[in-house]
Amino acid sequence: MSTFTHPAGIEPGEATARPKILTARGVTVGFGNKLILENLDLDVYRGEVLGFVGGSGTGKSVLMRSILGLTPRRAGRIEVFGQDLDTATSDERNLIERRWGVLFQQGALFSSLTVKQNIQVPMREYMGLSQVLMDELAWLKLELVGLPRDAADKYPSELSGGMVKRASLARALALDPDLVFLDEPTSGLDPIGAAAFDKLIAKLRETLGLTVYMVTHDLDSLHSICDRIAVLGERRVLLAGTIEDMMASDYPWIEAYFRGERALRRV
């Protein structure tokens, strides 16, 4: 690490001392003649919880999908675990995919499989474990995310919204990933459920050493569990920093978001 060279344009400083798990440089994504993201730079450091905010339609989900390789990029470079996604061979890509977990906004559980089978899909596909061990691990993940035991053999259509989120998180955690992407994990949950989910993520980060990339609108989550916050606007990251940095910013949108009426009322 002593010969570590910083990428061009990135100031070496206190923040860069920690290893980066994800780096995006100059990412440009557009549909038709409309650019959604333009020349966007973003860093995610190992072991942190990064909250990602931005107005509706600014491209938060597009960026996440672009990092995951679901939406094509026009330009830019994305490195995950130090591996450039564009130059990765399919084997390397496969290894990367085993080491990240994704919680989609709608859960995206496989509707024809039970919750337990959903959790076992990545294990069955990649690991070749025995059925006994897979069952035990699936139970363990279910307990970790706080689902009741009788949920294991239910189908996704029989679950409540909050349970779908938890089951989906359990599937995202199936292979003990290093990096998890959460797309609005607390939207649609009641405040108590949302607080419990925040606690759960904080606890998992502590025990499993997760790095969390979380798209959210929940001010409580941003205050309680996020180490750093990145604000998306005008097709780029407007500001990335701690909650104090956000509160101090006089950028109109950020000011309205973090010091607006709703934000102040929660204090």
Partner: protein, 382 residues
């Protein structure tokens, strides 16, 4: 951060330290090596004969929930055998993980019990019978609510959804014309060629026209159309209604106070009952054209002779016997499609299953109804 294939094989060394046995864990105890970890732990456990077992974590590499679970499981096993387990040299993060796993106990593993026995045969047969009865009731239910809606619409013609019917007619009829015409043309040509091949041996070439004319107009035209419509539009109805059911759109219609039968089912059924006779007519014409062309090229019957022979062979009645069946076929296809669509549950699997069932049942019933019509027409000497 080259973190890819750098897994260190899990190991466990045993050292005897007076009375106690020290197990020194090393390597990565993670999900990728879980099978090795488990085999290793199993082996160590079986060989272990000691009153006090110390587990030394200080040389351990990475640990994740899978590794922690395996360690937890075998610790339980050693303790159950009467030994005392001491844990030494655990780093803070490993301790957190071990405590977390310790706090959650999965229930014992129960293998799936799916033995087949004679009872399960009766069980599934019984279920199938009950299911068939429920289907019958569901069709009656929709037919009943359809009658009620049709009665309302007769008194309030404004409630008939003209645009919806037109849209459905466009999808089920206009869109199907090319494929129905092509398929019927080919079948007509094949009947004519096959018939001609055998009839020529008796010098009865010209009877090919009778054969093709009667067969196409009475049976083949409408039957082929109905089968094609069941596959094409019946499946579409089931999938549309099923997807709407999955997305709670049907429930939304209910709470807005709209009648599902009136809004979704009636326009589809009316459009289909108008479409199938039209398509059957298209099919008749295309099949006769195919038969005529093959007769001309293969059997040497010129078009004029074909047409005049056809005029002698078939009457208006022959044509009507075929056409009168068409709306009934349409009704059956539409009812089955709607019933199956509304039976769709929450999963993609159920949508696929009911769409398949819709097509299979519709084609089966179309053929059954065709047979009933044949018996009926024979009884009244038509």
């Amino acid at each position: 951060m080259a973190l890819f294939n750098d897994m260190i094989e899990p190991r466990c060394a045993t050292r005897h330290d007076g009375e106690r046995v020290v197990l020194i864990l090393s390597g990565d105890w993670i999900i990728r090596s879980a099978m090795d970890c488990e085999a290793l732990a199993e082996q160590i456990c079986n060989d272990l004969r000691a009153a006090v077992v110390a587990v030394d974590f200080s040389a351990l590499g990475r640990l994740d929930t899978a590794g922690a679970w395996i360690l937890h499981k075998f610790r339980g096993r050693i303790e159950y055998s009467g030994a005392r387990v001491q844990v030494v040299g655990v780093s803070e993060e490993h301790r957190l993980l071990l405590n977390e796993v310790d706090a959650h106990h999965p229930p014992p593993f129960v293998p799936d019990n799916n033995r087949t026995s004679i009872v399960s045969v009766f069980d599934s047969t019984g279920r199938a019978v009950v299911e068939a009865w429920r289907d019958f009731i569901a069709i009656l239910h929709i037919l009943g609510s359809l009658s009620a809606v049709v009665t309302t619409v007769l008194f309030q013609p404004k409630r008939l959804r003209g645009i919806a019917i037109a849209v459905q007619f466009d999808k089920t009829c206009i869109g199907a014309v090319p494929i129905v015409a092509l398929m019927s043309f080919l079948i007509g040509a094949i009947i004519s060629q096959q018939g001609g091949f055998y009839l020529r041996q008796f010098g009865a070439d010209l009877f090919v026209v009778d054969l093709a004319g009667v067969l196409v107009l009475r049976e083949i035209g409408v039957l082929l159309t109905a089968i094609m419509v069941a596959g094409r539009s019946g499946s579409a109805f089931t999938a549309e209604l099923g997807a709407m059911k999955m997305q709670e759109e049907i429930d939304a219609l209910h709470v807005i106070g709209l009648n599902v039968t009136e809004v979704l089912i009636l326009p589809r059924l009316l459009a289909l009952m108008a479409a199938v006779p039209v398509l059957a007519f298209v099919s008749d014409i295309a099949a006769l054209t195919g038969a005529g062309l093959v007769s001309w090229s293969y059997l040497g019957i010129p078009p004029q002779a074909f047409i005049s022979r056809l005029q002698d062979a078939v009457t208006m009645q022959t044509f009507l016997v075929g056409m009168v069946k068409a709306p009934f076929m349409a009704l059956i296809i539409g009812l089955i499609a709607c019933v199956e669509g509304l039976k769709v549950g929450g999963s993609a699997d159920s949508l696929g299953r009911h769409t398949t069932m819709s097509v299979v049942k519709a084609i089966f019933l179309v053929i059954v109804v065709d047979g009933l019509f044949a018996i009926f027409f024979a009884a009244i000497n038509v």
